[in-house]
Every structure is written in structure tokens, then in C-alpha cells.
Amino acid sequence: MKDKTASSRSDKQSPVLRGVLPALCVVLAVFAFAVQPPAELFRGFWRILISDAGLITDPAVTGGAGAALLNAALVLALSTALVYGMHLPVTGLTFACLFMMAGFSLLGKNILNILPVLLGGWLYARFQGEPFSKYVYQTLFATCLSPLVSFWLVHLPGAWRFAAMLGSGVAIGFFVPPVAGYTVRIHQGFDLYNVGFAAGFIGLGIASICKGLGVEFVTELRWGTQDHVVFLWLLRVILLGLFLAGVYLGCRKPKDYRPLLRHSGRSVADFILMDGAAPTLVNMALTGLIGHVYLLALSPFGVRLNGPLVCCVLSMTGFAAFGKHPKNVLPVMAGAVLAKSLLVAVPLTAPGSLLAVLFCTGLAPIAGQFGVFWGMVAGFLHMTIVQNTSILHGGMNLYNNGFAAGLVCVLLLPIIEAFQNRSKE
């Protein structure tokens, strides 16, 4: 076998693959300017920057759909520039992380509140004596706690607010990477939203300390219903673009795509590294389509696409390069829908439960590894547990579903193993 020296340099990768994320920035920006007049767009964008951002806040309600999309385009552009500037290759993790950045800019992250967190991550890398490129993804994921930065901006007076914003953001960016390195061992890679699990504990700690000091986090529900058509077309363009890019790169027959479905999805299932870019891009389109179709199927019940729901679909799409595929997400989603149907305390179209059905796919590796039944059990448990986790961190952890998914793993994995050991005997 030929000797090969691999490199972490990105220059070997297809320009089409490397062009996907910049193209997504452009699409978001074009939609932003197309749906809102410029003056109103910038006023709305400013309102998003200076408003609360905790769960569940739809920036399209705060500043308008165009302003929310402009925010997403800027956050994605900054994140992409960071990754590309460090000459990191585009892998499945890149797509998972950057699609989450774009998606969660429609559910709480903004170009202002993520900055102190990024500084904290950079300081952690300096502290470790390592290049920042090693921690860049964990730092970007750590911005899930950025609503805390916005909270201080809105609720503290005078110069105190800037000190608190900087201090809390830097602390988050500094402490999330080591905690995330620990939590990944707890769920053994079965919770794809590992940083969400870590951030849940950090958020719990912060919320508890603040409560002791007399500060209680409160966020109001802002849930849009006015911009359904804009978001509908946005998702269609993104998913179709990914599909066509995959076909262009060579995934033209079912046999080109099918091998990807054999993976359980457990971390590290980086489909770009294991199966190549073409089937991965097609998988992203198909997996995202599942979320999209699910939401459209609920249209008769009054469900309309908005920032948070588009965030869910983008997260599913991004993680379809890093563990999710139709075969492992559907059982988990089915379990969550079953829970929603059976449990009277979980209304069918309540915002939290709509998000949970799509975000529970972070547990897709359980279905991929242990089968449909356990996948459904995981989805069912997730739907019930996630209803009670947001209160623990005061809604400051945007990856609340990642936190709940980690707890599901802690509860379920030993039980699955006990059953499997018994059946082996």
C-alpha cells in the first residue's frame, strides 16, 4: 500500500466542498436583503443585538426575518472565516458546527454575544500552550451559552454590564472545552450535541450562583408565525443546493449513497472523512428534508416556520455530515412523537416540543447502534426529560436539547447494556 503523509492543510479539498459554507452565507444575506428594506433591516439587526436571547427567543420577532437572517449570515461568515483562516480542512465536524452557528443565530446567538466566548476559547488555547485551531470547534459550540452575555447587557446598569458581559463570556469560552472533553466520556459519543451536555452543567452552575446572589434569569417566549413563506423558500434553496452539490461531486446513484447508511452515527462518524463529500452532501439534504417535511406536515395544526424551527432543520442538516442519516433519525423522532401523543402535559404544537422532536435526533446514534426499539425509547425519554431541563440553567443554554440528550444517555445506556449482556448470556 502506498505510503501517504496526511496533512491538516485544506488545499487538497474540492473547491465545491469548500464553497458550500461561503455560499450559505451568501444565500442568507441575499434572503435578508430581499425580505426587509435596508433601513428597517439595520434597525431590526440592532434590536437583535441589544435584546434578550435566552430560550425561546425568535430574532425574527425581535428585529424582523431579514434582520435575523443578516445576523445568521454574519455569525456564519465570522465562524467560517475563523475555521478557514486557520487552514483547517472542511470535515463533517465543520459542517455540524457551522450549520449550528448559522441555525442558532436564528435562536439566540448574535454577532455581539458570541465575541467574549470566542475570546475565552482563545485564552484557553493560550493557557494550554496549543494552537487555537485545536479548540475552535469547541469554542464555537460553546457560544450556546451566549444568551448569558445578552442577559447582562439588557439587565445590568452602566459600566457593570460590560464587565459582566466580558467576564461571563470569557469564563464560558475558557471552561467549556475542558468540561466538554469530560462529558464526551460520559455518554460515549451517543449524544451528538456533546457541548450542549457540557454547557448544561456549566449553565446550571452559573444559574445557581446567580440565584444565590439574587439574580434570576427570566426570558419571555418570542415565537414568530409571520415569516413562514420566507423560511420555507430559504430551506428549499439550501436543501436543493446541498443535494445538487452532492450530485455534482459524484453521488448520482443509490449505490453511491447507501454505504453511508451503514454507520451507527456514534461519534466520531465523520461522513466526509469516511465516505467522501458527495454522499455526505446528499445525506445532509435528505436528512434536513425529513425535518422540513415533518414541520410542513404539521401545517394543518397551525405550525408555521420561524427562526427556531429553521434552526432545528439546519442543525439536523449540519449533523447529517457527522452522524445523522435518515435510518437513525427516524426511530428517535418516532419515539418523541409517540411521547408527544401520549403525554397530556406535552401539547402537540407547543414550541418546546416542536423543537424537541427535531433536536432529539442528537440521540440518533442510539438507534443506529442498538436498533429501532431503543432509538424510539431514547426519543420518548428525551421528549419527557427535555421539558424539565431548561429551568435548571434558566434558559441560558441554547443547546438545552443536547443537555437533555446527555441525561437520556446516562439513564438509558446502562439499561441497554444490561439487557444486551443478559441476551448474550
Binding site: 500500500m1 465536524l93 500552550g129 470547534y137 460515549q188 456514534r266 461519534s267 466520531v268 465523520d270
Partner: protein, 120 residues
């Protein structure tokens, strides 16, 4: 910035775990492992046999250990998952490929030789 690898030893023990398991899964009856400490890092020399029917598996293993692209951020985030042996999946071997800083895999008719390197 000077690169350090404070966890090279732990990383190499995970690599040994995964490679041993992978070779036995390919029908190996004997696997020799030799670990060398070098100024730049740890080098593992592996020799083993395999059943010819499993050659495609070993070819895939070779590809996963010698990836065209290595992502240091991915390895840093997830290296502790290697060697957990919970899932019978190639994803852990792909992770080993990311953890390694250099690899050489030579397949013979019924034998395999590997030289795997983790930098300090």
C-alpha cells in the same frame, strides 16, 4: 507556536487497543507490537497475520489510518472515545487515523505491517 502533545502516551494506548481489536477481528492469530520512544513522539510498530478473506477490511483499515486529511480539532475533541469498544463500527478506526500524526500500512499476502506515530 511550539506544538506539545501532553497526552501522547494516553493516545497511543487507545491506538494500541483499537489496532489490536481490529486485527483480531480480521482473523489474526498473532500480533506483535513494539513501542519506541523517540524525541518527537511515540512510534508503534505492528506485525500481524490475517485471513485472506478479510483483505478488503484491512484495505479499508489502511485507508482510515492514512487519511488524506487530518483535522487536529476533531482529534483533540474526541480522542478519548477511541478504545471504548462500545460500538462495532469503523468510526473508531477513522478516529484513530485522526489521532495519529503519521502512519504507514503495508499489506502482504497474509501479513500486515504498520508503523504508527503519535507526536509529543
Amino acid at each position: 507556536m511550539k506544538q506539545r502533545h501532553p497526552q501522547a502516551r494516553q493516545k497511543m494506548s487507545r491506538v494500541i487497543d483499537e489496532i489490536g481489536a481490529a486485527l483480531f477481528a480480521c482473523g489474526a492469530t498473532e500480533v506483535s507490537l513494539r513501542l519506541k520512544k523517540e524525541p518527537e513522539g511515540l512510534r508503534l510498530l505492528v506485525q500481524g497475520d490475517y485471513l485472506p478473506v478479510n483483505r478488503p477490511k484491512l484495505e479499508r483499515l489502511g485507508k482510515l489510518l492514512q487519511p488524506e486529511i487530518r483535522d487536529p480539532a476533531l482529534a483533540e475533541t474526541f480522542w478519548e472515545l477511541a478504545g471504548a469498544d462500545l460500538a462495532d463500527d469503523t468510526s473508531e478506526l477513522a478516529l484513530v487515523g485522526q489521532i495519529l500524526d503519521d502512519a504507514r500500512v503495508v499489506l502482504g499476502e497474509q501479513s500486515v505491517e504498520m508503523e504508527l506515530f503519535v507526536a509529543r
